[in-house]
Amino acid sequence: MRQFLAIGTSVPRQEASEKVTGIAKYTNDINTTGLLHVKMVTSSCAHGTIVSIDTSKARKAPGVRAVLTGRDFPILTGSPLADRPPIAIDKVRYHGEPVAVVVADQEYQAMNAAKLVDVAYHPLPVVNSPTEAIRSQAPLVHENLASYKRFEAVYPVPGTNIANHVKIRKGDMQKGWAESDVAIEASFSIPQSDHAAMETRCATAEIKPNGRVEIYSASQSPYVIRDMLSLFFSIDPSQIVVHTPLVGGAFGGKAPVQLEFIAYLASKAVGGRKVKLVNSREEDFITSPVHIGLDAKVKLGATKQGKIVAAEITYLFDGGAYSDRAAIITRAAAQDCTGPYRIDNVHCDSFCMYTNHPYATSFRGFGHPELTFVIERAMDILAARLNLDPLTLRRQIAIGPGDTTPTQTVLTTSNVGNLAQCIDKLKEIIRWNDEPQVVVEGHKVRTKGVSCFWKNSSTPTDAGAGAVLLLNRDGSARLVCGAVEIGQGTKTVLSQIVAERMKMNVDQIYVEMEVNTDTCPEHWKTVASRSTLLVGRAALAAADDAIRQLRHIASVVLGCSADHLEIGFGRVYQKDNPQIGVQISEIAHGYRLPNGNTIGSQVIGRGSYTMRDLTSLDPETGKGNPGPEWGVGAQAVEVEFDTKDLTYRVVRASAVIDAGKVMNPKAARGQMTGGMSMGLSFASREAFLYNKAGIIQNPRFRTYKDHRYGDHPEYLVDFVETPHLEAPYGLRGIGEHGVIGMPAALANSLSLATGIAMNRLPLTPEAIWREKKENTGDSFRF
C-alpha cells in the first residue's frame, strides 16, 4: 500500500496568513508613482452605428494626456474568431462596449474627461435573445462574418448570426424514434448573468524604450495575454512579460484577454508610459465578458422501462456581441450534450449566437451547468411520464466504462468517474428512500430535487505545463510554475504533490504565488479544473528529476550505487540499511568537502507535461476525444416552499462527486460548497435584465442580486474516489463541479413543490408567480 504523508490531509493554504492580515497583494494593490490612468467611455446604445465621436473637450480637460478611439488602431482581436475591435469601430454591438479611451494623470481626471467625450449613435434594430438571433429575418450583428480570421476549429455561418455551429450525429435517429414508447419535449431558457468576482478586472501596461512590453493583469491566462499581444500587435513574444499576482476570484471570467489590449493601446498613445486600467463594478458587469445564456429545446424518446433510445437537442447559446470563448463553450456543451447517460442515438445542434448583449466567455463549468439544467429537467419530466423514481431512472442508464459518449469516445474505468456509486451515496446522505420527496405542512411544502452531471474539458490537444523545483541549502524546496492562484488552492495542492513524492514535510515546500511569464515555466492557462493535472504532472516530473540528482550526489558521498538509495524524511539513505545516509541539507547545493570544493551543485528539478491522445472533433459528426476525463457527480437540493407567497428557502444542498483522489479534504469541501453556493445563486436570482433596446437595467450589486450570508443552506458533501490513471495520485478536477448540478436540482425541487415545470432561470418568486399565472407553452404538469 502507498503511504500518504501529505496527500489527503488538510494542509493549510500556502498564502493563508497573507490573506487574513491584508498584506496579500492583488494587481490593483501594486501602487507605482507616476503611472497614468485609463478610463473607458462605454456605449449607451446596444446596437447602432457611430455617427460621430467628439473628443475635443476631453482632450482639453485637466490632466488628460491622450484620447483614443477605435479608428486609431483598427484591428480585430478575439479567439477563436477575431471579430472584436478592442475599442468599437464605426459600430457598437452591446450596451457597455468601449467606444473611446481617455488617459490622464489621475484617475478622477480620466473619469471627468471621459464624461466630456461626445458620441452620437444611429440606433439599429436590436437582437435581444439567441432565439431572436436565429430567425431568418433577424438583423445581423456582424455583416462581415466571412472575413474574420479563425484560430481554432470554429464554424461561423456568414449571412446569419451564427458564430459557431457544432454538430453531434451518433447512431440512427429513425431507429431510436421507432423504438420509443414515449417521447417528451420541452424548452428551456437561461439568461446571461455574471461571474461577479469580488476583484474587478485590472491591467497595467508599459512599453519600454527598448520595445519591451510589461503587463500586470488580474488574469487566469498570463501566457495567453503574451501570445495574443504578440499575435495581434506583431510583437516578438520574447519582448513581452506578463505578471499575475494573487487573483481575487475569477470563475472563468478572467480567462479572456480584453483590458490588456486596451491598456497596451493606451500606453502606446502616451509614448509607452505605464498606464493602469481598472474596471468599475459597472464595467466589470457588462463591458467585460459575462456568463453565457442559453435557449434550448430537447426531445427524448424512451422505452417503457426507461431506456433512452433517442435524444434530439438544440442549444442556442447567447454568446453576445462577440464570440470569444462562447464559441468553444458551444462545442463543450455539444460534446457532453446528453448528460452522463447511455444513449445510442443522439442528434445535437449547438449554436453560438450573436446577439446585442455583452459578450460571453467561460464561466465555471464551461457550458455544463447550462446543459445540465436542460437535460436534468428533461430527465425529471421523463421520469414523471414513465412513473419512475427520478434517481432510479438515472441510476439504470448512468454512463460507465464500455459505453460511448456523444463524441463516440469509448469510456474506461480511468477516463470516467463512477456515477452509479455517486448516486448510491447521494441516496444515503439525503435519505432518499427513507423520506418522501414531498412533505406538506400547512402552506409549506418541502421537496427534494436531484441532478446528475458529468464534465470533461475542451482542452487543446497540446495543452501543457512545466515546473521547476529549486532546492534550498537547508533542504527545503521552492516550486516555480505558471498556475495562477485564483482562490482555488492549486498551489497548496501542488506543494502536497511534491512533498508526497519526495517524502518531505509539506511545510518545507514553498510555492511561488506570482506568475511571471519570463521566469515561470509555461502553463496553458488556469482553467477547466485542469491545473492540478497539468501542473501536477509537471511538478511530479520535477520532483523525480530532483530526486535523481540527490541520489546521484549521495551515491558519490556514500560510495554506493544510486540504485541502492532511497529518499525521504529529509535524508537520502541506503534502502537495505537506512542508518547509512546523508541529510538533504548537506547535499542540496552539492556536498561540501573539507577543502571547500563540492561534489555536485545546486539541485534543480525540472519537469513538464503535455496532454496526450486528444483529438479535435469531426465537423460533421462530432466524433473525437475532446478531453482527458469525465468527472461525474450527483447532487440534490431540498427546498421549503411557501404556497401562499411563492417564496422559498433552500434548506439543504447536497453533492457526491468522484474526485479521483481527495487531495486536501478541507480545500475540496470548500471548492464544492463554494461552487454549490454559486450555482444556487445564479439559478435562484442572478440575471441581467434587458429592456427592449437591449439596455441592461441592473449592472450593480444593489440591483444585481447574488447569494449573501444567510442565504446559504446546510451543505452535505461527500466524495467517491475512482482514480484517473493519468493524473497525479489519481485525482480528478473538482474546481468547477460543485456548480454544475445545482440549477437543475433546484428547478426539479421547485417544479415538484409548485406543480409547474420550472424551465426558465432564474427561479425567483416573481418568476414562479408568472409561470403560475401564465402556465402556457410547453410546460409539463406533474
Binding site: 491584508g22 492583488y26 480637460a61 478622477y108 481575487g248 485564483i486 449573501r708
Partner: protein
C-alpha cells in the same frame, strides 16, 4: 461644462493608532486615501457604491464601508484597518475554519466580524445575518465564515470575557 478646481486640504487621520497627515481632495473617499496615499491596501474596492463590503474598516470600533465615507469625514475618529489587527481571535478563526479562498473579500469580512463579536458578544443567528449580509463573498458557500464567527462568539462566552 467646466470642472471647478477645488484646492486640496491637509488633514490628520488617526489610523491604526498612528496620527497620519495627508493632503487630500475634499471629494476623496476614505478608501482611496487609505489605499493610494497611505498604502494600506488591505481594504479593497469591490463596487465603490456601498454594496459589497470589501472595503470595510472600523470607525471608532464600528464597521464602515470606506468607499462611501469621505476622508475628511474621518478626522477626529479612530480608523482601524485590517493592517491594524494582529493575531486577533477572528483572524485565527478565519484561518482555522478556511473561511476564505481568493481572499479579496476577507479583510472586509474580518473587520465586520471583529466589530460584531466586540459589539454583540451575544449575537444570535438573526443579528449575525443582519451584520454579515452587507458583505459579499463569491468564493465560499458562507458556511466557513459562519463557523469562524460562531467559534469566536462561543469561545468568548466560555472564557467569560463577556457576561450578560
Amino acid at each position: 461644462m467646466t470642472i471647478p478646481r477645488i484646492p486640496k486640504v491637509s488633514i490628520d487621520l488617526l489610523v491604526n493608532n498612528e496620527m497620519r497627515n495627508v493632503v487630500v481632495r475634499p471629494s476623496d473617499t476614505l478608501l482611496r486615501v487609505l489605499r493610494e496615499v497611505l498604502g494600506l491596501t488591505g481594504a479593497k474596492p469591490g463596487c465603490e457604491n456601498g454594496d459589497c463590503g470589501s472595503c470595510t474598516v472600523l470607525i471608532d470600533g464600528w464597521p464602515m464601508k470606506s468607499c462611501i465615507m469621505l476622508a475628511v469625514e474621518a478626522v477626529n475618529q479612530q480608523i482601524t484597518t485590517i493592517e491594524g489587527l494582529k493575531d486577533t481571535p477572528i483572524q485565527n478563526a478565519f484561518l482555522e475554519q478556511w473561511a476564505f479562498q481568493c481572499g479579496y473579500c476577507t479583510p472586509g469580512f474580518i473587520m465586520n466580524c471583529h466589530a460584531l463579536v466586540n459589539i454583540h458578544p451575544d449575537a444570535n443567528d438573526k443579528v449575525i445575518q443582519e451584520w454579515l449580509e452587507s458583505n459579499i463573498c463569491r468564493c465560499t458557500g458562507y458556511e466557513e465564515i459562519e463557523a469562524a464567527v460562531k467559534s469566536v462568539l462561543s469561545k468568548q462566552r466560555s472564557d467569560g470575557r463577556y457576561s450578560h
